[in-house]
Amino acid sequence: MRYRNSWIDATVVAIEQVAKSVMQIQILPLNGATECYTVGSHIDVSVLIDGKTEIRSYSLVGEYESNTPYIIAVKLLPSSKGGSKYMWSLAAGNKIRISQPTNNFELSHNTNDYLLIAAGIGITPIIGMAKTLKRKTGLTVKMLYAGNNKKEMPFLEELQSLLGVDLMLHYSDAQGFYNTTKLIDLASAKTQIYLCGPLPFMNAVRKTWEDGPFENSNLRFETFGASGLFAPQDFLVKIPRFDLQIKVKKNKTILQALEDAHIDVMYDCKKGECGLCQVDILEYSGDIDHRDFFFSESEKGENDKLCACVSRVANGSITIDTSYRGV
């Protein structure tokens, strides 16, 4: 459900590193009152990147408790566009702007069989779900938590004591990429699956479900931008209609670069879901790193269009056209 964002001033009340590259940040609205939320919710934070404000979404960690600050956990991504660097620069006492909590990843309570799947920092919305589900009786709750290694995975002990043998752990540094087809054995037709993690991992799980025996709509997932198949790099975009050639820096998106060049493109979600920002691909070299959830795999394979808000080019350049048809 989409609600209009209302922005409020808030204070960072505590920061704590909870894993090798994960910072947990506690945030309290200035008036002291947090809003109640359900698990799976996120807040938007206004972040400062190169002197410009941008908006980032962070899942709220754990369940709502009255008179307790909001908790988020941010992974420092050296390849990111700068949001995580800003969040890591915060110290207790700093003022920031945040939105009210919103939930796009709502837990349904109409089954008694759940499979939670988290990879990397995708653990943040999942941990609250695990807590809520474990408090109810008569449910089967299984969980897979994958990460590079123990040191980089926050909340491990908490989850282990919560879920016991129903928690499966996977360390990809030692064990390699997780074979997602194994997940099918953990599910049945009535299992609801909640998934969050980096793009390649989510794509693999989604493919497993598309090919597998169970209803696709039982797999719910939440996307959070910023991950693709290739590390972000600078690349050139040519737009012949405007006789322009622009550079997309590695911490910018095509959409931002077009806007900076005063070329209008329609957009809404800015996270690769709605498809409104699509542009035509006329030519390209290297690889197109489709990071959206709007185009299907086969559409992505055709490389005719891309979502300018998230998708990128690796090891090459691209020529595009926008939907402008004036003279």
Binding site: M1, E35, C36, N110, E222, S296
Partner: protein, 356 residues
Amino acid sequence: MQSFTMNESFPLNAWYAVAWDVELKNELLPRTICNKALVLYQKKDGTPVALEDACWHRLLPLSKGSLRGDTVVCGYHGLEYKSDGRCSYMPSQETINPSACVRSYPVIQKYRFIWVWMGNPALADEKLIPDMHWNDDPEWAGDGQMIKVHCNYRLVVDNLMDLTHETFVHSESIGDRNVAEAPFDVHYDEKTATVTRWMKGIQPPPFWKGQLNRVHKHEGDVDRWQIIKFEAPCTVNIDVGVAIAGTGAPEGDRSQGVNGYVLNTITPSTNQTCLYFWAFSRNYNLKDQSNTTELKNGVAHIFSQDEDILEAQQKAINENPDREFYNLNIDAGAMWARRITNKMVEEEQETKIDAL
């Protein structure tokens, strides 16, 4: 000072009756519950569904669309939703936006009613449905209705918690001076309030005289009882009946009497309207359908008299926004009911567990 007159609040963490089971079919039924527009329907396999009645896309009420099997099709741009609220089709694209869904509410069919939980779904526990088993217990027979009353639900609860009004509102059927004059006891606990009134050795009012005569061929004096039990936030079950005077009914032997239950659950719709579900179940003449119809019509007539009073009362409240009620001794049951409900609302606001 707490206001009795203007308090329209209701808890969200509660089961509310939203329809009679027979009202639900494999078609879309819109209903506003606790100020929220819902669309209800029954799946092909008979299970009930309650979804938010606003399309994820551009908020058109889904009840304006159609049902295809168990799938709701929006009547504007054709987005489709499964019974759990997940979107399963979007026009002109190959994928589905992962956040596309409408809220689905926990829903249960029990005691011939459809119950919906409006608050935090993690707290929805079937055991919290108020006991109204007389409505589908084979030892009891009866039927009822739903009426939409243009008043806040609390006014209906007030009305049922004090049956003194029978004497004045329902004088030709169940009310007589004995009700207004008999003393009563009021008890309460965390979730319930009970008003007990015994009228011993009295002439029965016309309605009860007829019922008792059918079963026990008796036209003389009776012991009459009314045991009103409120269960927060809005259910009132009233154990009523008469027995031949002096045959031991007050002590527990009702074998020489006739017994009925007036079952009421009053669901807040908006702040100024409610859906009033009632039924009358009896433990005699179980097979007699004409008795069922007669009772249903009789009670419907009695409640239409209440409806008239309650809507006029709501209007007067609105016209006198600065006025407070006075409370009398007879209002003790209603006041306990309000206090228990207020506690539920307050606790919910403190912990904010109703968050949606």
